[in-house]
């Protein structure tokens, strides 16, 4: 990546801060390590913390997985920067602890390689996106996406 590209991406992300809800209470912070209680061969169990926060506003820090398109109405937030695009192959191997971030209707985001802080309403449960076939376990309906 050349320097000009970096600057362009950095410039794009803070613009989204304008989405923020003025005067809202500080959302609870949720870490990737707190998503799941136990993972066994029979599947994943949600943690007590994530179950108690479901439906509420939370804030998470992570990275954007390689994007599918140049303007994003949704993306995958990961614990570490990744090189695998979860949407690009039908059977890609991506970590279990990923979070689907859905942007507000009509609001799209530029791809970014920087660390991000996403704030939004938390939803849990198995859900399949009809358009992409992507199955998610944890979703954030974003209010804000900021550079971390």
């Amino acid at each position: 990546m050349n320097r000009r590209t970096v600057v362009k991406i950095l410039g794009a992300v803070p613009a989204l801060a304008a989405l923020g809800r003025a005067g809202a209470a500080a959302p609870a912070s949720l870490k990737f390590s707190e998503l799941y209680g136990r993972v066994t061969v029979r599947g994943v169990e949600y943690s007590g913390k994530i179950k108690s926060l479901a439906g509420q506003a939370v804030s998470m820090q992570g990275y954007m997985a390689p994007p599918l398109k140049p303007k994003l109405d949704f993306f995958v937030l990961t614990r570490e920067p990744m090189s695998t695009c979860p949407f690009c192959t039908t059977a890609a191997d991506w970590p279990a602890d990923i979070v689907l971030v859905i942007m507000p209707p009509g609001r799209e985001l530029d791809p970014s390689t920087r660390g991000l802080t996403v704030t939004g309403r938390l939803e849990i449960g198995v859900k399949k996106d009809d358009e992409t076939g992507f199955v998610s376990l944890v979703r954030l309906y974003a209010d804000r996406v900021d550079s971390a």
Binding site: I9, V44, P66, K69, M82, S83, T90, P111, T113, L137
Partner: protein
């Protein structure tokens, strides 16, 4: 010369309008007498199709099912065919509006041999080329610094009955992937990249391609032998899948999982990672799209189910199904040395490959007809791709411990053949020493020739007696085929991808060195792969094959990968014309 040019021009102009005929098995195919295959003939660019006749050795082939998948094609299929020993010619006489054509393909069917062995244990180190085995040997058996003499050899290299060097290639490329290479070992055929035990076809359905029967299916069908499949990778990954499934696309994970229990092999022992393809879609973390639950379903079929090392070691079953992780089983270093929550999660009691190999043999040997067991060290390749040579090499050491056990078994069971080989290579190379006290990421710490000295691996040992990767004087190890990445020369306890996305899409999409690794102190290496490559790739380098015990003499010299199939069939005296 002028006449020759004119003739060539005429041939070209005819070819431009004639239909394109494809026949599978392909011209030059070598099969085992009695080995099942699907005959498939495809005509593309058809203009007003008239007639076609198909003869095998001059006699008309009846029963072909004709289809037309698109207006410009005609296909014929005849499934589950086989040949008698000897050479055969299949001829297609085809006629359409563009004229008449004749296409002939030659096949050779190999006659059965007298049995030398009753059992085969086949170890496959995924991505374990000669160079990777060598790196593991250098680390496990350091040189004596007093005289430069070797202090030992890997078990897989010691007391050999025979040895070969194996070349790889696929049906459609000089460079191979695990699907076609494992399929070549399983069927004796050249197979397309990404395909498992099938030939190409012109339909979009990946599960309807013409199939060719695997060694495991034949040993089951013709000799009633037990079959076992063990892997540290997720269980529907290409190498284990090649011994029990058929598909054009190795990513048909749910279909592959189903074929393990519904296909023509149905292994008696299946000990793998990757439970997410065997649990219903309603279980969070499942990769399936249906309600199939093979943990429950397998138990109804009489399998004993185990999910950790303790349960595995206690099992006393005749049919055994083990799932030890929701994804890949983590590397040996993560299981035995680092033991970090980040890398292991809740899976803290996973078997070593030698546990699984031993239990598989103890389960399979209850079958009086003998057995075929494939044991894959799947994580060697999984960590060579992202250039993490330590994790890859220590998984070779884990494999070697399993081989040591199998060699002992073969000594007390002299009717057992043990083979150790790989599916394809990676470009890993040991090129110097590295003074870890000066690193990470300092080129000045690389020592070449006598400045490399003798690394100090082995000064400390883990609970299994294996050396630790962290030592003052290590080897400088790198890969020839790389993306842009940051080289630190040293490993890390928490795995990191060497590259991350550049955040671009479409033609601008590419990868950049992982900034977290660059921040550790590193040398940035300019890649030599296309900017769209995010990791290292397989190479065309040769592979070792080490053979022990009965029938080992079938494996020597320079071999093509497909020869391994015929060597195993010969050692076991497989007569595929029979059905038990």
């Amino acid at each position: 010369m002028r006449h020759a040019l004119l003739t060539a021009a005429l041939v070209l102009s005819t070819a431009a309008t004639a239909a394109q005929l494809q026949v599978y098995p392909y011209d030059g195919a070598r099969l085992l007498a009695g080995q099942h295959f699907d005959l498939r003939i495809e005509a593309e660019d058809v203009k007003d199709f008239k007639t076609a006749t198909v003869t095998l050795d001059g006699r008309t082939v009846d029963g072909l099912t004709r289809t037309t998948t698109k207006p410009t094609s005609v296909e014929w299929t005849l499934r589950t065919q086989s040949l008698t020993a000897g050479s055969h010619i299949l001829t297609v006489r085809y006629s359409d509006g563009a004229g008449d054509q004749i296409k002939s393909v030659r096949w050779n069917a190999v006659a059965p041999a007298a049995a030398k062995a009753k059992n085969v244990i086949l170890f496959i180190g995924d991505g374990m080329g000669w160079n990777t085995v060598n790196a593991a040997n250098l680390i496990a058996h350091p040189y004596n610094p007093a005289n430069g003499m070797p202090t030992g050899k890997l078990a897989m290299m010691s007391d050999l009955s025979s040895m070969a060097s194996v070349n790889t290639s696929s049906y459609d490329s000089a460079l191979a992937d695990s699907a076609n290479t494992a399929s070549s070992i399983a069927t004796g055929q050249k197979i397309q990249v990404n395909a498992l035990n099938v030939y190409p076809d012109n339909t979009a359905d990946t599960l309807d391609n013409p199939r060719v029967e695997t060694i495991s299916a034949m040993l089951r069908r013709a000799m009633g032998k037990g079959v076992g499949i063990v892997s540290s990778a997720f269980g529907v990954d290409a190498t284990p899948a090649a011994f029990a499934s058929y598909t054009r696309r190795r990513g048909d994970y749910s279909a592959i999982a189903d074929q393990y229990f519904k296909g023509d092999v149905q292994p008696d022992v299946l000990l793998i990672g990757g439970s997410r393809d065997f649990i219903p879609s309603t279980a969070p973390g499942s990769r399936r799209k249906d309600a199939t639950d093979w943990i429950e379903g397998s138990q109804k079929m009489g399998y004993t189910f185990v999910s950790n090392r303790t349960e595995l070691n206690a099992a006393n079953a005749t049919k055994l199904f083990g799932l030890f992780n929701i994804d890949n089983v983590p590397s040996y270093l993560d299981r035995a040395q680092y033991k970090s929550k980040e890398m292991l999660g809740d899976f803290t009691d996973m078997p070593y490959l030698w546990d699984s190999a031993q239990k598989a043999v103890q389960t399979l040997e209850k079958n009086p007809n003998g057995f075929f067991l494939m044991v894959e060290a799947g994580m060697v390749d999984k960590y060579e791709h992202p250039l993490d040579w330590q994790r890859a090499v220590w998984d070779v050491l884990e494999l070697d411990r399993a081989v040591a056990w199998a060699k002992e078994y073969a000594k007390t069971h002299p009717d057992t053949l043990v083979l150790v080989t790989a599916d394809h290579a990676h470009s890993l190379s040991v090129y110097g020493g590295y003074d870890a006290t000066k690193g990470p990421g300092k080129r000045e710490a690389v020592g070449v020739y006598e400045a490399a000295g003798f690394p100090t691996y082995g000064d400390k040992r883990d609970a299994n007696g294996f050396p630790l990767p962290e030592t003052d004087r290590t080897y400088a190890v790198g890969f020839a085929a790389v993306p842009d990445y940051c080289e630190t020369y040293l490993g890390r306890r928490i795995f990191l991808d060497p590259t991350v996305s550049n955040g671009q899409t479409g033609t601008a999409a590419g990868y950049v060195p992982n900034p977290k690794i660059c921040a550790e102190g590193s040398v940035q290496r300019t890649g030599n792969l296309p900017p769209t490559s995010n990791q290292g790739v397989h190479t065309a380098d040769p592979l070792p094959l080490f053979a022990f015990g009965a029938g080992a003499e079938n494996f020597s010299g320079m071999m093509d990968q497909t020869d391994i199939f015929f060597g195993v069939a010969k050692a076991l005296g497989l007569d595929a014309t029979k059905s038990k």
